[in-house]
């Protein structure tokens, strides 16, 4: 290591290339835009988390003593809306994807840098609309906006909330569009499709869902706004419409949206597992194509949300079978990650701990999804805490764990600093324990019949609810600690080398943090992907 006797000349990188607020707000550099997203998305994560705290506090006792029922309705609605539209959907693609996609394919930037910046402003506009709703009294429809509750009976600001989700959708369409074109047109010489890192494959599949699914929710919310605001009816029976049509249109997007939240995480896990096992991922092509298969089949299963909504039994059977089928590509990934680790030298660094957590929790989330795909069992647990636990295992146990794995994996690359190894491992442990303690009891509660979205419950459910609330406080701590040591590392962390973990994808071959143009010379790829033959395993710690 260099001792700090001589004055160190700071190398030019994307962070210190320009200074001042304007250089950030008008930047077209994908790396800087990723950081703009990181800040905004983190704020919304805190907001959504605040509502989660309120929910768990209320449910610590059987009586509705902290929040009245109307407020409780608003709190869980805002938790869902903020976490889904403002945190989970943009988190990995808009932050890590934005930062890494051009680096991983050896490009100087995304295909459309200005549209990339525009997508951030569109997201912020949606955020302002959403915040306005929060500050003026909220909305109580649930994040699902089901009609006719939303269009006729709700007391909240439905039109404004729908507008916020509508606008946020366009931000995600712009991101998806940019990624697809970038992967097609901006790859470095020699970088064929089957030399692309699996992270890129996952983001490509995600982007397909973004540009094909998001416009459908957009038009659905557009119709909802017309019905609520102008009484131009589409779904309310009072206007001759059918509320179930809303559910079909809503879930045509909102089921694939789950894959917008989980596919990028899967991409992260593929990279992390490969790097920390120093091994080419087992079954590279299978993992790559399973991302595409998930994106395609994900569009064909929305009816499993309508098993109790007057859908015919035959339609239900088809959707049930298709839902089983979509589990296959997810399982392929889990088996392939396990096979990659098998007989590999697994280095247990922080990103790998999160990756292991992801694999375990996502497996539980996925398998309980199969329970829910069974029509008979589904009727028993519809709208219970079983469903709540299931999708939190997928979206938090999968989505958020993957996000944290990725954030820890690429943090040294993004900021050129190392974070505390000890604290990050403690936090990863707390997140895993806290998460399971929060959500596993909810499977039991749901199976025993506790319905979701109520602020009171019979006293016999209290033990499990207290466990869940206790777990939530551990989980909150587990999310708080990374906030502290990651921020701390920006100023006090040790300087990160270009390749701290011994990764072999292109982003590790440029400096940390990278220069504005990503690579000093455009890389030309002559090797197969994930070739570890010449890669030394670095010593960390």
């Amino acid at each position: 290591m260099i001792t700090a006797t001589a004055p160190v000349i700071e190398e030019k990188n994307y962070l210190n290339a320009e200074h001042g607020l304007k250089s950030w707000l008008l930047t077209q550099d994908h790396k800087r835009i990723a950081l703009l997203y990181l800040m905004a998305v983190s704020v919304f994560f805190i907001v959504g988390g605040f509502f989660a705290v309120l929910i768990r506090l209320e449910l610590a006792t059987p009586a509705g003593d902290l929040l009245d029922s109307n407020t409780y309705n608003k709190v869980f609605t805002m938790h869902g809306v903020v976490m889904i539209f403002f945190f989970l959907i943009p988190s990995i693609p808009a932050i890590l994807g934005n930062f890494l996609l051009p680096l991983m394919i050896g490009a100087k930037d995304l295909a459309f840098p200005r549209i990339n910046l525009l997508s951030w402003y569109v997201y912020m506009l949606a955020g302002i609309l959403g915040t306005t709703v929060l500050l003026t009294g909220g909305v109580d429809t649930g994040w699902t906006f089901y009609t006719p509750l939303s269009s006729t009976y709700s007391n909240g600001y439905v039109v404004l909330t729908a507008m916020a989700a509508f606008v946020a959708g366009f931000s995600s369409i712009l991101t998806g569009l940019n990624f697809i074109v970038t992967v097609h047109r901006m790859r470095a010489p020699g970088l064929t499709w089957f030399r692309l890192p699996l992270f890129v494959w996952a983001h490509y599949a995600t982007s397909v869902v973004m540009i094909l699914g998001t416009p459908v929710i957009a038009v659905t919310l557009f119709l909802l706004m017309l019905e609520r605001g102008l009484h131009i009816g589409f779904f309310d029976p009072a206007y001759g419409g059918d509320p179930v049509l809303f559910q079909h249109l809503f879930w045509f997007y909102s089921h694939p949206a789950v894959y917008i939240m989980i596919l990028p995480s899967m991409g992260v896990i593929s990279e992390v597992v490969s790097t920390f096992c120093t091994k080419k991922p087992f079954g590279y092509t299978f993992i790559a194509f399973s991302s595409v298969a998930i994106a395609v089949f994900g569009f064909l299963v929305w009816g499993h949300h309508l098993f109790v909504s007057s859908q015919s039994a035959y339609a239900g059977m088809v959707f049930s079978i298709l839902t089983y089928i979509v589990a296959i590509p997810s399982a392929i990934k889990v088996f392939n990650w396990s096979a990659t680790m098998y007989k590999g030298q697994v280095r247990l660094e922080t990103p790998m701990l999160y990756a292991l957590g992801f694999i375990g929790l996502f497996t539980i989330g996925g398998l309980t999804g199969l329970f829910l795909a069974a029509m008979g069992l589904n009727v028993h647990v519809t709208d219970t805490y079983f469903v709540v636990a299931h999708f939190h295992y997928v979206m938090v146990g999968g989505g958020v764990m993957g996000y944290l794995a990725g954030l820890h994996h690429w943090w040294p690359k993004m900021f050129g600093r190392m974070y505390s190894r000890t604290w990050s491992m403690v936090a990863a442990g707390l997140v895993f324990i806290g998460f399971n303690l929060t959500f596993f009891p909810q499977f039991l509660l749901g199976y025993m019949g506790m319905p979701r979205r109520y602020h009171v419950y019979p006293p016999e459910f209290q033990v499990l609810n207290v466990l869940s609330s206790a777990g939530a406080s551990i989980l909150a701590l587990g999310f708080l600690i990374p906030g502290i040591y990651l921020t701390w590392s920006l100023k006090y962390g040790a300087k990160a080398p270009a390749n701290p973990w011994g990764g072999v994808t292109l982003e590790w071959q440029t400096s940390s943090p990278p220069p504005t143009s990503n690579f000093d010379v455009t890389p030309v790829i002559t090797n197969e992907v994930y070739d570890y033959t010449n890669q030394e395993v670095p010593h960390i710690g």
Partner: protein
């Protein structure tokens, strides 16, 4: 570090830096053009799904309430609709000619055909406004004051008009956006920004404009032409 890649010296240099239209992150003009074109096609896929939701709602309700849809549809002014369809098809022709003359580097004819496209688009929007006003006068806007005289299934006829306004409204909003972009393009073309070598904005705007026209080609029969055989036009 360089074990996995080799590098060609100067490969990433701005070889075409004298070309003011080449952005720094592209290797050459061809890559830039292909990128922009693919971006527009991907965007049109998004648009297809955007309208798709409304088309789905239309087909479901028309399938369920055919009588209501026939009676409500027969209240539209098919002659005005047909004229507007012709206007829009002509605007597609002028747009295509605009792209053609852009590729020839003919600035005057490019501007002329873009202006013609703008005019035809304006006529379409004006006629649409006239039709909306007509619906307003006849209380055919869904809501509390909705009336459908002589409709056999008035309860569901309002669905037709909801879809009519939803679909034509969304289409018109695309026309208005196109109208705005056209104004900018005309100004840029007039200033001589486009050359035979570089006219990508004209070309990809052409794609957008044709797409919006094609949507109307589907809207016209679905909304105006249900069960018109043997009935008087007006």
């Amino acid at each position: 570090m360089a074990s996995h890649t080799s590098a060609i010296e100067g490969h990433g240099q701005h070889e075409g830096s004298h070309d003011p239209n080449l952005k720094h992150h592209f290797e050459n003009a061809e890559q830039q053009k292909e990128t922009a074109t693919l971006g527009m096609w991907a965007f049109l896929l998004t648009e297809l799904m955007f309208f798709g939701g409304l088309f789905l709602a239309y087909f479901v309700y028309r399938h369920w309430y055919p009588v209501a849809f026939i009676d409500a549809s027969n209240k539209t002014d098919v002659l005005v609709g047909a004229i507007n369809t012709t206007v829009l098809i002509c605007s597609s022709l002028t747009m295509a000619l605009g792209v053609h003359y852009a590729s020839k580097g003919n600035r005057k004819l490019l501007v002329m055909f873009l202006v013609l496209t703008l005019l035809l688009g304006g006529i379409f929007l004006g006629v649409k406004g006239y039709e909306y006003h007509d619906k307003w006068v006849h209380h055919e806007i869904p809501g509390e004051h909705f009336e459908c005289h002589g409709c056999r299934d008035a309860g569901h006829a309002s669905l037709f008009f909801s879809l009519y306004f939803g679909m034509t409204g969304l289409h018109a909003s695309h026309m208005i956006i196109g109208f705005g972009v056209l104004l900018v393009l005309i100004w840029q073309a007039w200033k001589g920004k486009f050359t035979a070598k570089w006219y990508t904005p004209i070309e990809i705007f052409g794609l957008y404009w044709h797409f919006v026209d094609i949507v109307w080609i589907f809207l016209f029969p679905l909304l105006y032409l249900i069960d018109r055989v043997g009935k008087p036009l007006l």
